[in-house]
Symmetry: C2
Subunit: 405 residues, 2 copies
């Protein structure tokens, strides 16, 4: 019984393999690398019943994670976020079996903490002492916080327009923070140059192979929370797309282990904003990779990614599951966010609201059926985005009274 | 097997009893009311092993909660927050067995959601259609969100200085929000007048008897997470003190059920700010109730409560457990907050930082021993308090590069 059953890294494009015991970034061919596990051993040794007495965090799946020594684990208690049946919102949308996987209830208030927990833990295990990454804010915050616990020095570069709270998180954790007057792609170029100049580990999305393993735990949890019967549809707000790729990978692994039905996959939906929809465009044009989006801009800043390194993996996952890609407008996003708070008391992030709006639209188009079991990923807490809500309120003096109309 | 084993309400001062099937506020004698359960039936019917297959939220303890019909439950997935062993921070403080119960990972990012979940669910069960409350921000936000799901109309009155994000949460949820140019006591007077004028339910701290039952689940969880062996010390940032009263109540109930050792209680510590320390003053003077604090002011806004209705219950809980009350300065709070983020990657709220500082001081005084198992309550997420951190960062142009010193 090992803590991890990790086997090796492999390239999904050229099938080259690499060791997980040394520092690796991209494949020689330029593709992201994925993690393989010893599935035959796992089939023998790892059973669902073993989870029952484990703590409700993502490390309950340690056999299916790449960290080999439990001592390497850096944790803030991330994972096993609620899967909530939204009865009122579902009724209103005509989707009675509507569920929210609420990633707001996680360290740093963003699902980015999953990738950071596993990515930083593995970086610590590999002896990495410094890393750098571009970010739209939340990933930088999460990697800064976990790096602090691990004793790793992070350099974070984020757009000036990224949510302001994420700057505070980086600085609180002691990260070296830089702002760039541009988009995440511009931040990526600055990081690319820096990691070469100073020989630092590049923790950019999919340039390091382990954060996807952290993200994949969303898929493991959804399966476990539905008692190993997967839902019909999963909607995911898609920027870099690591979560969607991870959920797909998780479900394939569970099929291989025989924990879920090998003949049923949820239809995976990549949700983007109309202001930045490269995956949707590629999907509609039947392409297997995406062109960069020009002049990307959206209120859902976390999915403002003009070009995703894993575009081909996203498009493949959608195709293989009979899913789709769909975009929504900023107005729809902000309206949906307010509607959800009023109906359910759920204050979601704009990216999560985008995914809810997509569910509404796909139901209207009958792409989602009336009896489908539908899971929407809310990828972060609304409290990180104060600007989505206007809050004018009357100011009373101490001796005033409230007069209701 | 009932969903709840609630029995009745009783007054801890005059021992009067009331029904839980009708709307009650304070006792006729002016004291808060507490909830009693059918403990003999519970001893027979309720066993720790039953929790194993339940979801990781506070409703896993439904037998020990006052909501009788599961259909009344309003939930956003609150509870079973992480209990983290802080090895680095503990080593630095000389408390190797230092744990944080992290209430930042809960809906609305504040432990107030526990009280709101149970309080609003019971209000819904009792047919309450509108409620009003004064708040330092977080409770109002939480009660607004849960009320939205329950279909109850909330009126919230908070000081102008309350954390701005909490205004947004109230408004997002559709609450009637008022700001007052004063302190929570002033907000309380305005609410007191309004509930009389319009015959509305008064959900002020301890004027409604059920939020304490929600807060008490922190105590149930700490006991369960330590496998029914309680820690030596629990530190709690104390404003209204409902959490401390609740934890004490929970542990007494667990003792009565025989789930924990009847001879061991953790020493409970009420932590306040030097700018508002009425409980500490009363404790030091050996009094059983507290005088209002003049000109209350602290960066830990959530504990800026000049007069707590449950002061006598707080002081009693401290006394009965051989605990203590201690105050810390705003400077210490902000320093501790930064130290924790740098050491552990934990971005806590100022109230939580106050409790950590108190642990540090009590260790220095040897009131906390080197081998004591110590739990600090971090009552909310740091991301709700952006102003605790200054974040100046260099701004780069797209073609600039990072130059390290």
């Amino acid at each position: 019984m090992n803590y991890s059953y990790v086997s090796h890294l492999y390239c999904p494009k050229c099938e080259n393999t690499y060791s997980t015991n040394e520092v690796n970034q991209l494949c020689e061919c330029g593709s992201p690398l994925l993690v393989a596990y010893k599935m035959d051993d796992l089939k023998n040794d790892f059973k669902p019943g073993m989870l029952l007495e484990r703590t409700p965090d993502l490390w309950r799946y340690h056999e299916l994670l790449p960290v080999e020594d439990q001592e390497s684990v850096v944790t803030l208690g991330e994972g096993m976020t609620p899967l909530l049946h939204l009865k009122k919102a579902g009724k209103e949308m005509g989707i009675p079996n509507l569920y929210m996987k609420d990633e707001g209830m996680i360290p740093s208030g963003s699902f980015k903490s999953r990738g950071a927990a596993v990515g930083v833990s593995k970086a610590k295990e590999l002896g990495i002492e410094a890393l750098a990454m571009p970010t739209n804010g939340n990933a930088g915050a999460a990697w800064s916080l976990y790096s602090a616990q691990a004793g790793i020095t992070p350099t974070i570069v984020m757009p000036l327009d990224a949510p302001e709270i994420t700057r505070k998180e980086c600085v609180a954790a002691g990260a070296d923070l830089y702002l760039v007057d541009g988009l995440i792609g511009d931040a990526g170029k600055i990081v690319g140059r820096m990691v070469k100049d100073y020989n630092i580990f590049d923790a950019s999305t999919l340039k390091e192979p382990y954060r996807i393993e952290g993200k994949k735990t969303m898929g493991l949890e959804i399966a476990e929370q539905f008692n190993w019967e997967v839902p019909d549809v999963i909607l995911y707000p898609t920027g870099g797309g690591v979560g969607l790729i991870g959920i797909y990978k998780a479900l394939r692994e569970l099929q291989e282990l025989g924990w879920i039905d090998e003949n049923k996959m949820p239809r995976l939906v990549a949700v983007q904003s109309e202001g930045c929809a490269p995956i949707v465009r590629a999907w509609n044009e039947g392409k297997s990779s995406a062109e960069p989006w020009e002049n990307a801009s959206t209120v859902a800043f976390g999915i403002n990614v003009a070009k995703a390194l894993g575009d081909f993996l996203i498009l493949d996952a959608i195709k293989e599951t009979d899913g789709c890609a769909i975009s929504v407008s900023d107005t729809e996003i902000l309206d949906e966010l307010k509607t959800l708070a009023e109906n359910e008391g759920a204050f979601v992030c704009p990216e999560g609201a985008a995914a809810f709006t997509a569910a509404r639209k796909l139901r209207e188009q009958n792409w989602i059926g009336a009896q489908d079991k539908v899971v929407v990923l809310n990828t972060g807490a609304g409290i990180k985005y104060p600007n989505t809500i206007e809050a004018d309120a009357p100011v009373l003096q101490k001796d005033e009274k409230i007069v209701r109309n």
